[in-house]
Amino acid sequence: MNPFSSGTRLRDMIRAIRACKTAAEERAVVRKECAAIRAAINENDQDYRHRNLAKLMFIHMLGYPTHFGQMECLKLIASPGFPEKRIGYLGLMLLLDERQEVLMLVTNSVKQDLNHTNQYIVGLALCALGNICSAEMARDLAPEVERLLQFRDPNIRKKAALCSIRIIKKVPDLAENFINPVAALLKEKHHGVLITGIQLCTDLCKVSPEALEYFRKKCTDGLVRTLRDLVNSPYAPEYDIAGITDPFLHIRLLKLLRVLGQGDADASDAMNDILAQVATKTESNKNAGNAILYECVETIMSIEDNGGLRVLAINILGRFLSNRDNNIRYVALNMLMRAITVDAQAVQRHRSTILECVKDSDASIRKRALELVYLLVNESNVKPLTKELVDYLEVSDQDFKGDLTAKICSIIEKFSPEKIWYIDQMLKVLTEAGNFVKDEVWHALVVVISNASDLHGYTVRALFRALQTTAEQESLVRVAVWCIGEYGDLLVNNAGMLNVEDPITVTESDAVDVVESAIKRHASDLTTKSMALIALLKLSSRFPSCSGRIKDIVVQHKGSLVLELQQRSLEFNSIIEKHQNIRSALVERMPVLDEASFGGRRASSLPNTVSTSNGTAVKLPNGVAKPSAAPLVDLLDLSDDVPAPSSSGGDFLQDLLGVDLAPATQSGTSQAPKAGTDVLLDLLSIGSNPAQDNSVSTPDILSSAQDHKPAIASLDVLAAPSNMMDLLDGFTPAPPKPANNGPAYPSIVAFESSSLRLTFNFSKQPGNPQTTTISGTFTNLSSNVFTDFVFQAAVPKFLQLHLDPASGNSLPASGNGTITQSLKVTNSQHGKKPLVMRLRIAYKVDGKDVLEEGQINNFPRDL
């Protein structure tokens, strides 16, 4: 043995690392150790291999890279002695995971160890396999594990049972091989074997309907008997926890009975008595007892209905809910959430207690309770519940406000009995927590306000009052500014007073003050400022006395560094200065926003109508549609002041519109001018017969456009109004244009490596916004043919994924062909969470396997 190559002992290294005072010192120590270990690995040092691996594990735990030690694990596992194998397997489980290819190399050693004469070595191999085996290993080693289920020593049988769980989770097809051996395990007396056998049985039932049927028929009575014996067993010191014999076994038995009883009246009947006994006899003064009761309640709620048992269960939950232990209250809330589908009435009885839990000091409990309250709301209790929640919003923690606000808004929207209540509640929320209100929520509020014509005055006055007290909540400011712009006249002359209101006196300049302060506020973002500018434009026409002042404010922003604001103020200024005659028409009150189609837009299924600007305006939730006038005026100005050469005029149009116009290929040019006129007139949305009325410049542009019929025509085809607005409004992203049916989403490059590119195109069926059909196109960027091409995708739980077969499994080189495959993704959290997907692509190049993996985070939002 060479004393110089050995380095320090494990203990000394840990001491040295602990003695480090700074992270830099620690890194230095670790670097030195790693260098020594690498040197030892290169020398193929045998004597200190296990010590080096132990050190590496410690270093790994500190978060340093240790991949260079992976092969050492394999060498240790392959060595004959128990101590080496023990540390080797430990290292394997810590340093590797199932995705590393190195793991495949260990399969043979594991197989040998599973057949080893030393049962502890068999145990080590089973443990490692159970913790990290991959699907391939599971397939290769399943027969060994299955055989070990009948091993003489119970400690190996139990390990084999848990190992089997991993195997059937990785390869469900293998489930049927395990059904028979497991049935034997269920009859055993050894608690370890029973616990693991029952667990395996439960997992088998989950992956295989045949297994479920088999165990239901053959094992239900036996399991009920086992549970009865356990419940009535005398004191057993080895398994006793708080006076209960083996609560772990209790819980697993109850879990399996739940699986067997669900949806089967006979099996449920067979277990009724014992469940009643557990529910009534279990001591509930210690955690272990409560854990059993909790499991028992869940089983009672899941199996086929038995009125008496359900009452017992609900009573237990009631007791839990009033418990002073936070843990018990937490699980009670959890359980009530599941019970609500079974017995909503019983849960409603605890409403006031649950509401108290929303105000608990413990964030975990608050969150649970809030989710439960959300499920409890219905038409009859929405008013008092919302009042409680809104009141609590004032005093709640900052980090809870986001969740709370979202839930309140959702409740208000879903259950509001009348418009005035909706508006009142939303205003309260905006005042208290406007910064937490999502865009689509206040957009919806604007739509509702616009539709409630008898409440316009009331709303604008209420908003005005609210702004006097709080101006920090962004979305409150936005809604207020929009309403003042639209209904400023009602604010000033107190029109449409309701009985419940106190009259207020607001002068025209007060109203302008409010909007001005919104635009001057430092905290205001671009959207708010843009909305304020539009509101000012509107007010300039509504309040002639303030017109001059408004013009000054607008002019101040002509120098704004933000392009959007600069452009707006230039445009608006020219409207105020030069186009008095059309101004009043331009800034008319918004037509009533169509609730139905707005709702439709929110559900991402746009109807295919963009024929009129009204149609567009309708789909925009806020004041966005108003600027529809602006771009036109801009155009008019241009053709008025600078008679552009006709050719560039057309280009300009195109540029300005930001429409990606393909070289115009419109036939039917004779109709083009007319179509162009329509578009323009629609944009202006001025009255019935505007062509004559505002002759200032429209003809101009028309005549210049005459030479460019195709451009205008395609402009019409492309439904330009909304594109224009897209360019000019800078508000919320304007709704994506419906290309054919359903909204179109831009296609994305989902994955690109040096050799492969995958692009996704998206489409949705109208009326089914949750589901997206993705068509994926694979292109080979390398100069080799790919064969055995397999694409796999994984999604988180809130998504459901369905893959259709691919168009082929070989991919020609250099992009000379593609494989297409379509995927269907259903997003259960549609609108809340965007899609994410992980993908794995396997193929062969010249007979060599290649695996590529990636994650897609750049899905368009709203999918």
Binding site: M61, N287, N326, L803
Partner: protein, 179 residues
Amino acid sequence: MHYTVCKELNSVILSVSSQINFVCLISRQGKVRLTKWYSTYSQKERSKAIRELSGVILSRGPKLCNFVDWKGHKVVYKRYASLYFCICIDEEDNELEALEVIHHFVEILDRYFGSVCELDLIFNFHKAYYILDELLIAGELQESSKRTIAKLISAQDNLVEVAKEEASSLSNIIAQATK
């Protein structure tokens, strides 16, 4: 996360059923003392998970409940002296039982080390892992008897001792022979 595979016409969907996803021990200073992963997480996800969780758990007051919601899972934790024992379980699992599993583990450690402290677990971290491996496999409980686990561990420790003695007597013989 589960992978959906489609080869030709039969598509296989694997869904993860309930189990313990990982176990970790974190000191009050946020140092990791033990981590064991039963579901597949990449190294990056692992360190991120630990970082996030220690932030959440260490900042919670003493009287609050022992559960935190975390990314669609639940983390059950309990503090023993300077160490937080954390277990990440699935949404439908029994939180109270997870607390019992933690306590079970602590009692076994206590029995093995003789009133265990953080230092024991630092210097003998591999032993703690061996004990955990006798308690859990594949994220499922393996044994409810503390005595059985103690017996199995000491039997294996003995095997190691015997092998060590053999090795040292062997090297003595070699040393003698080559003198």
